[in-house]
């Protein structure tokens, strides 16, 4: 049996490249590179410095990819060597901070999703004279833990911004879809929505399994017939929810948090009513750049207060402008 299948597999392996030569797609696919790529801007003439960006990102999450791209662009301009690491598990994220200290970096940018776990190691960093900024999560504890500034969007405020907009448009029964049970930031978003629209309900799904997200959300919409809007807390989740709404034959509208190019397109097309963007690219860019600025001129942005990167609402009125940047992986 194995011999037979193996021979067949070998045959397919031989045939596929031949087909590849003759079966080119006329649309889509990798864009052909145009000549004369952007001719690289000026790089700062200050001494090369080393900055560690340490996040709690799970591997393979598009949101963090955008944060990282922002940080990379700032590093390229500021003559910074960027060390990017991440681990969703609190203890291991603390170890990554320790490793950055061991490598004698000139600055640390860190997400404070689990402040307790990072408290001690961040004290070591500041004791060693390494400047620290925080980003994305942990705005309320940032200063306490020794960061001189924080770049992020307040999740509760973002949730309330969505809730306010939904209330204005007359929605009464939103379903707020949380893709990771127990995630403080995501819970805060839905709590913010509920604060403005008391009829809001929460649905938990498993963000690692898109078919599961789709069928569970379909089930919810079939059961909760009075649901008039369903909210995804991440762009890939929201795109999946669109399919659930169609499957369930529901009349519910779709709203979202965060952004990517496909979602921006859906807003342009009118399939998604709006999203609230915390501008992750700016979080990555600003945290690296502020460390450079602190070194360059002793600047402390924010004056001890967090610098908010959001929430900004992207709806049909401004989506086409945003789309262009989203396609470049900036928004």
């Amino acid at each position: 049996m194995a011999n037979f299948s193996w021979r067949k597999a070998a045959l397919v392996a031989a045939v596929v490249p031949m087909m590849a030569l003759s079966a080119c797609s006329s649309t889509g696919g990798k864009p052909v590179e145009g000549g004369g790529a952007a001719g690289g801007g000026q790089v700062a003439t200050t001494d090369r410095m080393k900055v560690a960006l340490i996040t709690h990102a799970a591997a393979g999450d598009t949101f963090w990819d955008i944060v990282r791209k922002g940080a990379e662009e700032a590093s390229a301009k500021d003559n910074v060597e960027l060390l990017y690491t991440s681990d969703p598990e609190a203890g291991r994220q603390a170890q990554l901070v320790q490793q950055a200290i061991d490598q004698k970096v000139d600055g640390i940018a860190v997400t404070l999703a689990t402040p307790e776990a990072l408290k001690d190691v961040l004290k070591k960093a500041t004791d060693a004279g390494i400047p620290v900024v925080s980003l994305n999560a942990g705005e309320s504890v940032s200063a306490q833990l020794g960061a001189f500034t924080h770049f992020g969007s307040n999740e509760q405020l973002a949730g309330q911004a969505v809730g306010t907009k939904l209330a204005e448009q007359g929605f009464k029964h939103p379903v707020c879809v949380i893709q990771q049970q127990g995630h403080v930031g995501l819970e805060a978003r839905c709590a913010g929505v509920k604060a403005k629209v008391p009829g809001a309900e929460i649905l938990y799904v498993d963000g690692k399994d898109m078919t599961g997200v789709q069928s569970t959300a379909t089930a919810k919409l079939q059961a909760a017939k009075d649901a008039d809007v369903i909210i995804g807390l991440g762009a890939p989740i929201t795109l999946t929810l669109l399919k659930s709404v169609a499957d369930a034959g529901s009349s519910a509208k779709v709203a979202s948090f965060d952004l990517n190019a496909e979602l921006a397109q859906k807003i342009v097309d009118g399939d998604v009513i709006f999203t609230v963007d915390q501008q992750p690219w700016a979080q990555g860019y600003m945290s690296v750049d502020s460390l450079w600025q602190a070194k360059r001129g002793g600047f402390k942005l924010g004056g001890g207060q967090p610098v908010l990167t959001g929430p900004t609402i992207v709806d049909q009125s401004n989506a086409s402008d945003v789309l262009k940047f989203a396609q470049q992986g900036v928004r």
């Binding site: 194995a2 597999a9 797609s25 889509g28 990798k30 990819d65 938990y204 079939q222």
Partner: protein, 355 residues
């Protein structure tokens, strides 16, 4: 019901007082109760009745279509995994292998701007190839499948992330919805069929077809006998001339094939694939097979059992949503449902074996 020579212990314990029980006709009810999936079947019925009582939505045709869809995405993989477990091995790399397959098809077609079907066929080669490599290493090294497939799981997780970023510059695959062949591939892997006004996902039919084929292979072919034999006692099987190596490698390749189908469904249902997905899903497939009566030690089980296991999981998962229970308790209820279903499964099986 065809009896395979190696189907263990139920027939022996069903010995009647007169004559040789091996050639005597058995009571059809006893034959049914001796089947590995019967406990799961009872569990499924109990769960179905329970949710039908607590939730008015649960039994509506639309809702059943959704439950079947949720079950099918686990069930398709559970077919391959059940057979593999009957053959005495299991595979931890299945969750991410599904995503590897989807990424292969998507990234290859996108990067070389080919017709999407080229990528789909390449993904088939890669998926079945991963199964072959798993099986080959296992047979070559004699290491436990836990270690071998754990290593594959880790390597695939890394490859999914690393290659996707290297090729596409992002951690999710680019959208391929505008490429040639997308519409036809979507029709094959991710369309719906309308039955009396109810849209049923095509994965449900693929799932049923796979279960039918797997059952036929297990019950009616020589290969089926080999699978039971290598799972029951590998050395004894080898001694009577069963091609142990080929059978086991073939089983891993079968799992790879199921992973390819599900991977293609993921890709064409959602256009893009995030490279970090799939981790943890391997346990769902194993859970489905175990609830369905496949023993973790091999040599016993059925494809239908794995399907019923997937259906139980799908019902519990979606039923909690239909019942509109407080979502804080979601995971707890899910665990409780699974535990109860498995216990009912056990009780029924023991009862059946005592008779």
């Amino acid at each position: 019901m065809a009896k395979t020579a190696t189907l263990p212990p139920a027939p022996a314990s069903a010995a009647g007082p007169r004559g040789d029980e091996r050639i005597g006709r058995r009571n059809p009810l006893q034959t049914l109760l001796g089947r590995p999936e019967v406990g799961a079947l009872v569990g499924a019925v109990v769960l179905f009745v329970f949710f039908a009582l607590v939730s008015p939505t649960f039994t509506q045709p639309n809702a059943l279509a959704t439950i079947l869809y949720g079950s099918s995405t686990i069930g398709i993989m559970a077919v391959g995994v059940s057979l593999l477990m009957i053959g005495g091995e299991f595979d931890l790399s299945t969750g991410v292998a599904v995503i590897s397959s989807a990424l292969t098809a998507s990234m290859f077609s996108w990067y070389f701007s080919t017709n999407i079907w080229v990528g789909v066929l390449l993904a088939l080669v890669v998926s079945v190839g991963i199964g072959y490599i798993n099986g080959w290493i296992l047979m070559k090294t004699k290491l436990p499948s836990f270690i071998v497939t754990l290593a594959t799981f880790l390597m695939l997780t890394g490859l999914n992330l690393g290659l996707t970023r290297l090729i596409g510059g992002s951690v999710s695959s680019p959208s391929i919805s505008s490429m040639d062949g997308f519409a036809s591939a979507r029709a094959v892997f991710a369309s719906s069929v309308s039955i009396g006004g109810i849209d049923v996902k095509i994965t449900v039919f693929i799932w049923i077809a796979l279960v039918a084929v797997a059952t036929w292979v297990l019950m009616r072919t020589r290969v089926g006998n080999w699978i039971f034999a290598v799972g029951g006692d590998e050395n004894a099987a080898r001694a009577v001339g069963v091609p142990v190596k080929a059978t086991k490698i073939g089983l891993f390749m079968g799992v790879g094939f199921c992973g390819w189908i599900l991977g293609m469904h993921n890709l064409f249902a959602f256009d893009t694939v995030q490279s970090g997905e799939g981790v943890g899903n391997e346990f769902l497939y194993i859970i489905a097979a175990v609830i369905g009566g496949c023993l973790l030690t091999g040599g016993y089980g059925s494809a239908v059992g794995g399907a019923i296991g997937a259906f139980i999981f799908g019902m519990a998962n979606k039923g909690i949503v239909y019942a509109q229970w407080n979502p804080d308790w979601f995971k707890f209820f899910l665990g409780l449902m699974l535990l109860l279903a498995t216990i009912i499964n056990l009780i029924v099986k023991r009862r059946a074996e005592l008779k």
